[in-house]
């Protein structure tokens, strides 16, 4: 029973990693590919930590795996934002939205 759960958890990890990889690989735009980084980060890391917990019990290895999980989830959002920002600055030359960018622009109360 225990082993079946571990196999199921690891299957989710593998599926999450493959789905994220193929999604990032097939997307044409880098900003579209960035969205698929979250699949291995969330599905992969969380289910991997639970699988390690089932395999080894409450040990220091399990604790460190949960730390890895938290670090991956925390740093992935930071890295994704930094990359998206770098791509935008590289393409447009600035970070803040401007009217000439051609995207939906909601003016603030001061600008109204």
């Amino acid at each position: 029973m225990h082993r079946d759960w571990i196999i199921a958890m690891l299957a989710v990890v593998v599926i999450g990693c493959w789905a994220g990889t193929l999604g990032a690989w097939k997307m044409r735009e880098p900003t579209q590919s960035l969205h698929y980084l979250s699949l291995p980060t969330t599905l992969g890391a969380i289910f991997l930590a639970v699988a390690v917990l089932l395999e080894t019990g409450w040990t220091s290895t399990t604790a460190k795996t949960f730390v890895i999980c938290l670090v991956l989830i925390g740093t992935n959002s930071v890295g994704t934002h930094a990359t998206a920002r770098a791509i935008r600055v590289r393409q447009l030359g600035h970070w803040e939205p401007r009217k000439e960018d051609g995207v939906e622009f909601i003016p603030s109360k001061k600008e109204k």
């Binding site: 082993r3 571990i6 196999i7 690891l10 299957a11 990890v13 593998v14 990693c17 493959w18 994220g20 990889t21 193929l22 990032a24 690989w25 880098p30 590919s33 960035l34 698929y36 980084l37 291995p40 980060t41 992969g44 890391a45 991997l48 390690v52 395999e55 080894t56 040990t59 220091s60 290895t61 460190k64 795996t65 730390v67 890895i68 670090v71 991956l72 740093t75 992935n76 930071v78 890295g79 994704t80 930094a82 990359t83 920002r85 770098a86 791509i87 600055v89 590289r90």
Partner: protein
């Protein structure tokens, strides 16, 4: 061969599309490939640690998870301003 090593092989195979992502296309696309491969490598190291029953080696993926953010940020900053 146990289930952990089988999962490690399956996750390790994901690094081939990542290598393609890193080696072809625009610089932005390559940076995305680098970030994805660092996430996958971290998961792969955890799987190998448990698969080979070398539990003290769990420090390696922990260090990799922390250090890879710095590498990604440096490359992102470099891409933004200098490349």
């Amino acid at each position: 061969m146990n289930i952990w090593l089988a999962a490690a092989i399956a996750v390790g195979a994901c690094l081939f599309p990542c290598a393609d992502l890193c080696m072809r296309g625009s610089a932005e696309r390559r940076l995305v490939g680098l970030e994805l491969s660092s996430i996958l490598a971290t998961i792969l190291l955890v799987l190998l640690t448990v698969g080979f029953h070398r539990l003290p080696f769990i420090d390696l993926p922990l260090a990799m998870a922390i250090m890879s953010l710095g590498g990604s940020l440096v490359f992102a900053r470099f891409l933004e301003r200098h490349l």
